[in-house]
């Protein structure tokens, strides 16, 4: 009888041991984040000319950026960080504009994330997945991620091919272009085991050119390294996100 009891005990231990990651997954609720890109009041159309705050025209051809280090704040002010949450969002790639993050059940009042890649991942060697340098969002000669890219054309640009090229990044002291975004919900989202929330965010590409400071394409058509213009644009696009809708 004692042996039978210990056999049962062992079976239970083994069964628990085998559950591994699946038991945490059972309590995590996937919440979808969907991103829509805009150019002012209209949806962003790659290859279509728009007018920026300074009055300059620009045709945006490439629009992509990293979002990372997602977290949510619950009503009790507890913050849940989502480990390894790195996403490369690309206007030209529809599937990149929707992804899910695993949340614990609770009342979520704020969503937070960073535009860019934290300094730890900039200095710890070669990463995989969204952060693989093969994705072309990495400076190989001055180690570091390109946090965000906007490329286009403007007839006021004095660069070759009238190009507008903004590759924004920088993690070193004095060059840090990492910007945090905070999206508060007017009513907290009740995350429960069966809920299927879809948080639809809008990112306005025209904000790159205004908000903290206006950008003049004639004199500021190009940045492809960390530094003053990168910081100026990062300060602008830090406010490009807004909450459009929550679906459930």
């Amino acid at each position: 009888m004692k042996q039978l009891a210990s056999l049962f005990l062992i079976i239970i231990v083994v069964a628990l041991g085998c559950r591994k990651k699946s038991d945490t997954a059972a309590t995590d609720v996937p919440v979808t984040i969907s991103i829509q890109h805009a150019a002012g009041a209209a949806p962003l159309q790659l290859g279509t000319q728009v007018t920026i705050a300074s009055g300059d025209p620009v045709t945006i051809n490439v629009f992509k950026y990293y979002l990372s280090n997602f977290s949510v704040v619950y009503d009790n002010n507890e913050e849940q960080k989502i480990p390894d949450s790195y996403f490369l969002v690309d206007e030209a790639n529809a599937t990149s504009k929707s992804f899910s993050i695993p949340l614990k059940a609770g009342q979520v009042k704020t969503l937070r994330f960073w535009i860019g890649v934290d300094s730890a991942r900039n200095v710890s060697g070669v990463q995989t997945g969204a952060l693989d340098p093969a994705n072309g969002m990495f400076w190989t000669w001055n180690s570091g991620y390109i946090f965000a890219k906007l490329e286009g054309r403007s007839f006021v640009s004095t660069a070759p091919l009238q190009a507008v090229t903004y590759h924004i990044g920088g993690f070193r002291t004095g060059q840090n272009a990492l910007r945090q975004v905070s999206i508060p919900f007017s009513t907290s989202l009740p995350i429960t085991a069966g809920s299927r929330f879809n948080i639809i965010l809008q990112a306005d590409a025209l904000k790159w050119f205004t908000d903290a400071a206006n950008i003049s394409i004639a004199t500021e058509s190009t940045t492809m390294e960390p530094g003053a213009l990168a910081l100026k644009i990062a300060n602008n696009y830090a406010n490009m996100f807004s909450l459009k809708e929550v679906q459930y």
Binding site: Q3, I10, V123, G125, V126, T128, D132, W141, N142, G144
Partner: protein, 342 residues
Amino acid sequence: MRGFLSILSLGVLLLLSCNKNDSTTVKPVTPVSFTQPAGWPNAVYNFAENPLTEEGIALGKKLFYDGRLSKDGQFPCASCHQQDAAFGTFAHDLSHGFNNSHTLRNAPPLQNLAWYSEFHHDGGITHLDLQPLAPITNPVEMAETIDNVLNKLRADATYRMMFTAAFGSEEINTKRMTQALSQFMLTMVSADSKYDKVMRGESTFNLPESLGYDIFKQKCASCHKEPLFTDLSYRNTGIPMDAVLQDKGRMRITQNPADSLKFRVPSLRNIMVSSYYGHDGRFFDVYQVLEHYNSGVINGPTTDPLVKNKIPLSNFEKGQLVAFFTALTDSAFLKNKKLAQP
């Protein structure tokens, strides 16, 4: 009790069996230990994240000598990093790259990389694993894209086999490719020159070497710190900027004017086989370098205090220094077959 034990062992077996792992079909790797030379500071490379294995080193060596990492197939890593020049470019100022281009700087010798945490003359690269991505993608070096290189490797059955042997599956990605290259480059340890033998008590300096070592300790060693023969700092040694290259050195990375024209102190190990000298290779031989410190230093806002009053060196002292430099040539390293082109 015996029954209990057997049930327990059954339980352990069951537990082990839930540890799903495809490694049953993959041969185990052969670990290689990294030898830390006696008396040296600890290596800074994180071997725990990328443990050396025979399979990883063999893969890294194949990659290092493979021209397919470049756009036109002509420029393997080894085209600029030649073993007989301590993995620098022998007798060149700048190196040759894709489509008859030239590099911005002199290819640095590759040795003792496990002790470095920053790479390039300006320290712009923050990890050894990231280093190969710079020459691979530079239009005046290998001129390729990372994606193209990975696709060339994926199409090659030998590489698929070697990646499986080194990393346990056929997957070929940037991380695995660069970790394998790091493993090979980490084996480029030069610690067996006559100088090292003297330090270990296995040999003695002859008179010129001994006199040269004394002069070295007095006039050179504060920057070219033993045993790496560099203190890994960035300094402006009074070499004026070339008007065409317009290379501001460390300032290119930090954008801090205080870093203008600063370059990392190069190691003096194997110096007699790794000409030319200076970040842009402007000095043809070591006597020109020594004469620069004796009479050529140009003072500017960032010139290093240690050289701004120049370093007086008589012809006699130069001769003895060169005798000492010769004792830094590590022929075992330069002729090591394990590092040689397969």
